[in-house]
Symmetry: C2
Subunit: 319 residues, 2 copies
C-alpha cells in the first residue's frame, strides 16, 4: 500500500536533489500576457517530454534491490508511462505499463521504445485500469507505481516547484498547473508553501474543481465528454492528493478545448514550444482571464507529447 | 567602420558575461541520432526566438551615450531584426530595421511589436540591402548594426559557445551551426578553440562552403534558387568573418529542403521544439549523415520563428 506514508516537504527537497543529479533544470520562460509577465516552466523539455519523469525517478530510486528485481507496473495514458519506462531503463528495472487503447500513438510508441512492456486496457469501453494493474502486480510480484496517488510520485513532481523558486529567486505568489489526478499540484503545494496553488482541469473532467468546492472527493461520471487532454483524463483524485489540495488550493479552474488550442498557439508563436493539449491547460486559464494574476505568477507547461497531425491542425487554425 | 577592430576570444568572454546578466542559459538538450547522443543548443528559446539577441545585446551595450541617442539601423530577414529591436527597447535606443518584403509575416510583426521602425526593401527584385541601410545611417547619423560583419556581433553570438562548454563541462569536439553570413560560426570558433566548427548552409546558398573550398570569398549568384531558410539567405560572407572561418572550419556542408524538413520533424517529435527551417540546418546535416560525429558533438538550433501554416505543413507531411 503506497499510501502508508504521507508526502512531505522534506521528501520534495530530497526528490529535487536526486532529480538535479540526473536532469538539467527545465527553463522558466517569461511570457507577456495582457501586459503582465508570467513565468512558464517548460516541462515539455524533459527527456520524455513531460514532468512525469521527476516522480518516476524519485519513486524507482527508492526501491530496494529485491523490489527492483521484481519490477514495476505503471498505469498511464502516456506521460507517466514514459517517465516510469525512462527511469526503469536507467536503473535496469523491468517495467510494465498499462495504457489505454486510445492513447496517442506517439505516447504508445515512445513508451515501447524506452523498453517497457505495454499492456493495453479498454478505456473507451470503461475497463478499470486500477483493476488491470493490481492484477498484474499480484501476478508478477511487481511494485505498483501509481501515476499520482503515491507519496514518492507527489514529492517527485514537487521538485518542479523547487526549481521554479530557485529560478525566480523566491517562491511565486501563484502557481497554476494542469491537473489530472493531482500529483503535480500536490507536489507543488509542498514545494512552495507560500504560493497559492490553482489546479486547472479540462471541461467535463473537473472532478478536482468540484471536490474542492464541495469538500469531498467527487468522481467524473462514466458518460464524461471526450477531451483533447488525454493526460488529464483522470476520473478521480485520491485521498493522499486531496488532503493536500484541500489545504492549499483556494479553488480549481476548468478550461474549454478552444481555450486550450489558443494556449497551444501562443506557446507555439511566442515560446516556440510544442505543448500537448493537457500541458497547455494552466496557460489556457491565464489567457482566458479565469484567474487574477499575482505579482509573480508561474504556470507549468507540463508536457509536449502530441501527434503531429493533431498539432498541425491546432496551429493552422484560429478558432 | 565597424571592421576597424578584430573580434577576440576575450571579447566573446565579455559578451558571455554581459549576456548572462540578462538572459538565462538556453538548454542544451540531448538527442539520440543513430545510436549516438548529440547535444542541441536550443537558441529558439531566447526571448526573440533566436540567438541573434546575443550579438545585438553585446553591440548595443557597447555604444556610447551620443551613439545611443542617434539610434541604430539593422538589416535582417527577421531574427537579427528582432534581436536589435529587443536590445534597443531595453536600452531606450531608437531602432530602424531594414527588412525584405518577403520576410515571414511573423518576423515582420514581431519586429514592429518590439517597437522598431521597419523599412522594407525589395529582396526578390534584387535591391541591395546594404545600400538601403547605409543611406539610412547617413541620413540619421545612426550606427549600422550589421547582422554578421561586425566584431561585437561575432563576439556576442560566440557567447552561445561559452554556454555550451559550461553546460557540457568541456568544449565539444565538434560544433555544427546554421550559417548565413558567418557571424555565429565565427563566434563559436572564438569561443571554443578546441572544437572543429562546421557551418551548414541551404542548398544553392552555399557561398561559405565554396569560399572555404576555394580559399577566397565566393558570392551567391543573382539567380540563386528559393530556399525555405530565410534566415540563411545571405549572398556573401565578409572578410572579418571569413578570416576566422578559414582558420577554423575544415569544410562547410549544405542541406536540401527535404533534409531540413526531416530535422524540423525530429525536433518537433523528440525535443518538442518549434525550429524554423534555417534553425534546423545543422541538425539536418547530422541526420542526413553528412558529417562524422565526434565523441562530443554539439548542434545549434538557432531559431524558431516560423509561420504557423508553414510549420503545420512540414510536421503534417513525411516527405
Amino acid at each position: 500500500m503506497t499510501e502508508s506514508r504521507q508526502p512531505t516537504a522534506e521528501g520534495v527537497a530530497l526528490a529535487a536533489a536526486k532529480v538535479a543529479q540526473i536532469l538539467p533544470k527545465t527553463p522558466l520562460l517569461p511570457l507577456e500576457v495582457a501586459g503582465r509577465t508570467i513565468w512558464c516552466k517548460a516541462e515539455s523539455l524533459q527527456p520524455v517530454g513531460a514532468f512525469k519523469i521527476r516522480g518516476a525517478w524519485h519513486r524507482l530510486t527508492a526501491l530496494n534491490e529485491d523490489e527492483r528485481r521484481r519490477g514495476v507496473v505503471g498505469v498511464s495514458s502516456g506521460n507517466h508511462a514514459q517517465g516510469v519506462a525512462w527511469a526503469a531503463a536507467r536503473l535496469g528495472i523491468p517495467a510494465t505499463i498499462v495504457m489505454p487503447t486510445d492513447a496517442p500513438a506517439v505516447k504508445l510508441a515512445n513508451t515501447r521504445a524506452l523498453g517497457a512492456e505495454v499492456v493495453l486496457y479498454d478505456r473507451p469501453g470503461g475497463e478499470d485500469r486500477d483493476e488491470v494493474s493490481a492484477r498484474l502486480c499480484e501476478q508478477r510480484g511487481a511494485t505498483l507505481v501509481h501515476a499520482y496517488g503515491d507519496p514518492w510520485i507527489i514529492e517527485g513532481q514537487g521538485s518542479a516547484g523547487i526549481e521554479i523558486a530557485e529560478q525566480l529567486g523566491r517562491q511565486p505568489d501563484l502557481i497554476l498547473a494542469p491537473c489530472g489526478g493531482g500529483g503535480l499540484t500536490a507536489g507543488l503545494a509542498l514545494a512552495c508553501p507560500d504560493a497559492a496553488i490553482v489546479p486547472v482541469e479540462p471541461e467535463g473532467w473537473d472532478d478536482v474543481c468540484r471536490s474542492l468546492a464541495s469538500g469531498t472527493i467527487q468522481r467524473i461520471a462514466a458518460d464524461a465528454p471526450p477531451t483533447p487532454c488525454d493526460a488529464l483524463q483522470t476520473p478521480v483524485t485520491w485521498p493522499i492528493n486531496f488532503a493536500i489540495l484541500q489545504r492549499r488550493c483556494p479553488f480549481g479552474l476548468w478550461i474549454t478545448p478552444a481555450e486550450i488550442r489558443a494556449a497551444q498557439r501562443l506557446a507555439f508563436s511566442k515560446l516556440h514550444l510544442v505543448i500537448e493539449p493537457g500541458g497547455a491547460a494552466a496557460l489556457a486559464a491565464v489567457l482566458a482571464g479565469k484567474v487574477e494574476l499575482a505579482e509573480t505568477t508561474a504556470v507549468v507547461l507540463s508536457g509536449g507529447n502530441t501527434d503531429a497531425a493533431a498539432f498541425a491542425q491546432v496551429i493552422a487554425s484560429d478558432d
